[in-house]
Symmetry: C2
Subunit: 408 residues, 2 copies
């Protein structure tokens, strides 16, 4: 796992330009502002970046002085940069950081450590919610359901529920999320492709509470391009994780994000242009024609839902997990020896040493290698337990009965 708080990455974006900052004309230019193609000094880059966010916050009246503002940290650059900038712009505001440990093995705990250090240094109080401890399941468990190949979707529903629940617990008025320009536009375009116009109308920079006990949701990075956030995070040594989640799928909106970035080569303003079409033309058109969505409270958890059967999507997903008898994905050597007693000889133990590069190969090659064990329980050992676990998840997604043996 790679932490991006190091000087190495910074070297790639900092250039030794032989001229002065185009903004202050005093300091040496050392970094480009991506959306402007202007070379600036560190100070002017920061001012430009922070001012844009400040303007967005003020334009949409996102934060009032008496608000208690929660920022859910994922460990990634977007949410951490958001917290950093909010603290810098509004030092007197009541800021609360939150981290949800989703119980993703070899991933969530590392993120928790990272976030703890970050908040300590930034002097922002941090609330940690441990999903496995509090609710008895982890996101990894979805590998046993039909969500195995769309874990992101299940995880999203769980997180939306937790946002709302934790906001109430901590008495937050406002939740600020790190959605940036690239996210917003690609999600909007993806919803457009699916014809989900109501979904598009909900993607506003500031979403007032829908019910009295609900929280307001704001997106201060709404008009900030992703690349500018990355540069800012590196420039200001904000620690973040860039190692992708083992469940990360190639979602349609990620694919669309890539394609938009390609269109950007020819039209630098394409993302802003699209955002403007959505917010100034399409959303007003949708709002003038569509009826308000009928919302009710979930009969299981009490959170809002638009589902007709009054069971929210989070509860439907959690119900699936409750039906799983055996959630074993990982065993110690001792547990393994015990476990195989009930399997007759219908199992195989595979040492992945010298084959670990298979992890980066195509699905086809992976399948070809394991296909002869299709009907057996497959126990894996690797040079590091993390690698064995990544194999286990990948094989489970392909419907193999794989397990990781923690040898180290």
């Amino acid at each position: 796992m790679k932490h991006y708080n190091c000087k190495e990455e910074l070297k790639l974006i900092i250039k030794d330009y032989p001229f002065l900052c185009k903004i202050c004309k005093k300091e040496k230019a050392l970094i480009e502002i991506p959306s402007q193609k202007i070379k600036a000094c560190k100070n002017c880059y920061n001012n430009f970046f922070e001012n844009k966010i400040k303007k967005t916050i003020e334009k949409y009246k996102m934060i009032k002085p008496q608000d208690k503002v929660g920022v859910f940290l994922s460990g990634g650059k977007d949410s951490s940069t958001l917290l950093f900038v909010l603290k810098k712009l509004y030092p007197d505001i009541n800021l609360q950081a939150i981290f949800v440990n989703l119980g993703i093995r070899y991933y969530s705990d590392k993120l928790e450590d990272l976030v703890k250090n970050f908040c300590k240094n930034l002097e922002v109080p941090l609330f940690i919610y441990n999903l496995p401890e509090k609710e008895g399941y982890r996101i990894d468990d979805f590998i046993f359901t039909y969500f195995k190949n769309k874990v992101c979707s299940a995880c999203g529903a769980i997180k939306r529920y937790l946002f709302s629940k934790i906001a109430k617990e901590l008495e937050l008025n406002v939740i600020a999320t790190g959605h940036h320009l690239d996210d917003t536009v690609s999600i909007m375009l993806n919803l457009f492709f699916q014809g989900d116009f109501l979904g598009i109308a909900k993607l506003q920079p500031s979403l007032p509470p829908l019910f009295p006990n609900q929280v307001k949701k704001i997106k201060p990075l709404y008009t900030t391009p992703e690349k500018e956030i990355l540069y800012y995070a590196l420039l200001n040594e904000i620690p973040f994780e860039n190692f992708k989640c083992p469940h990360a799928d190639i979602t349609p909106s990620k694919k669309i994000k890539e394609l938009l970035t390609k269109l950007e080569d020819e039209n630098r303003q394409i993302k802003y242009q699209l955002l403007s079409v959505f917010t100034k033309k399409l959303i007003p058109l949708i709002k003038s024609n569509y009826k308000e969505e009928v919302l009710s409270l979930c009969i299981k958890c009490g959170e809002l839902t638009s589902s007709q059967d009054k069971i929210c999507s989070r509860c439907k997903r959690v119900e699936l997990l409750e039906k799983i008898d055996n959630k074993t994905l990982e065993l110690t050597k001792e547990e393994f020896e015990d476990y195989i007693k009930n399997l007759n000889s219908n199992w195989v133990l595979i040492d992945l040493k010298n084959r670990e590069n298979l992890l980066n190969e195509s699905i086809k090659k992976l399948k070809r290698f394991f296909n002869s064990y299709r009907d057996k329980h497959i126990f894996l050992t690797a040079s590091e337990p993390e690698i064995g676990y990544l194999f286990t998840l990948k094989l489970r997604k392909l419907n193999f009965k794989a397990y990781n043996i923690k040898t180290v």
Copy 2:
């Protein structure tokens, strides 16, 4: 210039499948229906293809038995296939083919020959409109205006005007155009990116006449993917030109078309899905909210325009051409010797032999080679006059004063 009426191309799409056609289960399967991923025999492919078009025509009541239907042939696969299928589906209808010779040197005349032969074999009457002869200018002349790098846009306005003018001259009730699924969806998406919602609403499969003396415009290939047209044209040996126009730009909607084709890898239905979002959700929403566009008659040519100054975009473009004093792009050797008499020594003669591959190189390399002659009149000779002319156009787009000398 490559004609696609040859057997060579066909070999690439015809496969020797070791099973029977999945539709009739009698003949050998030899070609895939792209949108269905079904392997069929030639007869079933044709039936599938023609039936889809027939259904579209019937669904939108595009053609009545007494209509005189005009098809403007470009020489490309789409319009020629359309004419071919209309003739096959409705042998008794009053069909009229039209070809507009746009005066694009080394291009339009070849297309005219191709189209003449095609119509003769198909036994459909052909009307030829020669733009340079009738109106005194050719599309190439736009190279002298600020449209030099967007000739397609100027040409489009001219063609729309001619469609309407010729339709009246020939007393057509209906014009059928070869716009297919890929065209339609990428044009719609491009208009969406530009926020041109009125433009989207106009992209209907059947557009009734807007004024009493106007013609109805229909798009029978509206739901047919481009690839299926290509396969049909090859399978039925419809002659078409696949050599691109020397003015062809990479327009935004072409770029979007490419990207949609990439998204298709993961979602085979994406283009149909998008068409449905546009036609069933967005267009009705637009129509329920927007006022009708105010149209008037152009004070110059009498055709419809939405322009406030009542001069249509075709007439504005033609006005630009009228201001050009010298439209010389090409000279015989004798004309050249005469021409340089007035240039003092401010000219250079360049033999392109051994440098003709520069035509396929980057703009940068082309510029680098010619940059020292930036202020001079550049006369070019090449192994074939066509090649010299392509260089001339490319250099003119880069603001060089280039001329082709017809040596052969």
